[in-house]
Symmetry: C2
Subunit: 261 residues, 2 copies
């Protein structure tokens, strides 16, 4: 998605009630005027219940982060967002046991946040893969707060993407376990996320991607009761990655044009 | 294989009886002194019975073709060879019904001949993908004989590789039918040939390669009673092709370094 394009969908804001819509609109225009921790919680809560919203919620989060940074040079919202993501991450097995859909929405959301928080044109290029010299020397403001995001954000303000790499991988590994591969919702989620952020994840940590695909191939080859659709989805993602994270014309035709009987 | 390397294995000539070894040695050194039709038949007969030999027989055929061409500017041996290949090709279903091993050896042999008869450094570059202007204008000697190789060699002397493309594809399509995919010898043969000549074949006719991989994926996804080993082999070749006919480091590790349980 090209940044700066018209806000066609108003960040999917219409799926919230009127009062919350107002809160979110203000957060986007005048972030200093609202409780950004509350905003973060509202967005995460909604994401866990609405998988359609969770697929695009990273965009809204990114816009609020940018607005706050521009207005006040702060990252209250991002910290709140990542804090909440971390809480859910730590309780992910319970979440999955309680609500498979909630779990799938969570993975969708964290991957989408990872996708949006990675380098964007407006951000300085050093955010891509290393800290800027000033930050390394401890000269940038860090704004850490007690108890904030030890797991996710050792370098709080600078490396959101790096910090999310392992949690995102952990979620995908969970989806590639046999008991998840036997559930089409989870297989569907796994391959959607890999289509979206797989290439970027592999760049950040190629070894974990190799390990993830060992699980996926094993799931495919061992008799674990995959459905036909799950097999098709997994075979497609195996080819997709083998082709360098793209769909070859032949695969396009096979997986997206033909009806298999 | 680099042409011009020492003839370490003497073209595997030692698997023949003493008299035939002499015949083959003469064919290589002084092709005009022997019955080259007989030589072609001896080599094909032996290939159909000895799968180890058939994997490398193309090399010997190529050397005899080169020797004859150099000595006499003729192609009696090549014509005899391709004639015989065509006979077996036309009777391939009977061959398969009679002897699965003979059939597998045949496919191995024809693919190996295809592999060796494709462009080599000594051959002029126009043999790669088009006829030279002189041949197109009918100015090159063609040496066609009555009844020779209508199916295989419409352009007898110039395009052996082009002529073999479709027969080779037909054999591989046969190996990708459900009844063949349930036999490990045939799956093994299929993936070996694709490793060896798949890339070249795709360059000659990409659409047929797409069709072949439709069969292979279908074999995988439809319940056709593939063995675990067959599944592993087919998944590997699917990834191999998707990666542009090469093994990625991750695939190398998965398929060639680990023991699957």
């Amino acid at each position: 998605m090209v940044m700066g394009e018209p806000r066609r969908e108003e960040y999917k804001i219409q799926s919230f009630d009127a009062e919350t819509q107002q809160l979110l609109k203000t957060a986007l225009k005048d972030p200093g005027a609202v409780d950004l921790d509350k905003v973060a919680n509202v967005i995460v809560d909604h994401s866990l219940q609405d998988c359609v919203f969770s697929k695009e919620a990273g965009r809204m989060c990114y816009a609020i982060i940018q607005a706050e940074s521009k207005q006040a040079g702060q990252s209250v919202f991002r910290r709140g967002l990542l804090n909440r993501l971390q809480q859910e991450y730590q309780a992910r097995e319970q979440l999955r046991a309680r609500s498979l859909q909630g779990w799938v929405c969570y993975v969708t959301f964290i991957c989408n946040v990872f996708d949006y928080l990675r380098v964007r044109p407006q951000q300085p290029p050093w955010m891509a893969d290393s800290l800027p010299p000033k930050a390394q020397a401890g000269l940038l403001p860090t704004a850490t707060q007690p108890g904030a995001l030890v797991l996710f954000l050792p370098q709080v303000n600078n490396m959101p993407m790096m910090a999310l790499v392992n949690p995102v991988y952990d979620c995908l590994f969970r989806l590639a376990q046999p008991d998840s591969l036997s559930k089409e919702e989870e297989v569907d989620c796994l391959v959607l996320q890999l289509h979206r952020v797989g290439e970027q994840l592999e760049k950040m940590n190629g070894q974990r991607m190799d390990e993830l695909f060992v699980l996926i191939r094993d799931g495919f080859l061992l008799p674990t009761g995959l459905s036909s659709l799950a097999q098709l989805l997994l075979l497609e993602i195996i080819e997709f990655r083998a082709a360098g994270w793209k769909t070859t014309p032949a695969a396009q035709k096979y997986y997206y044009s033909e009806v298999s009987d």
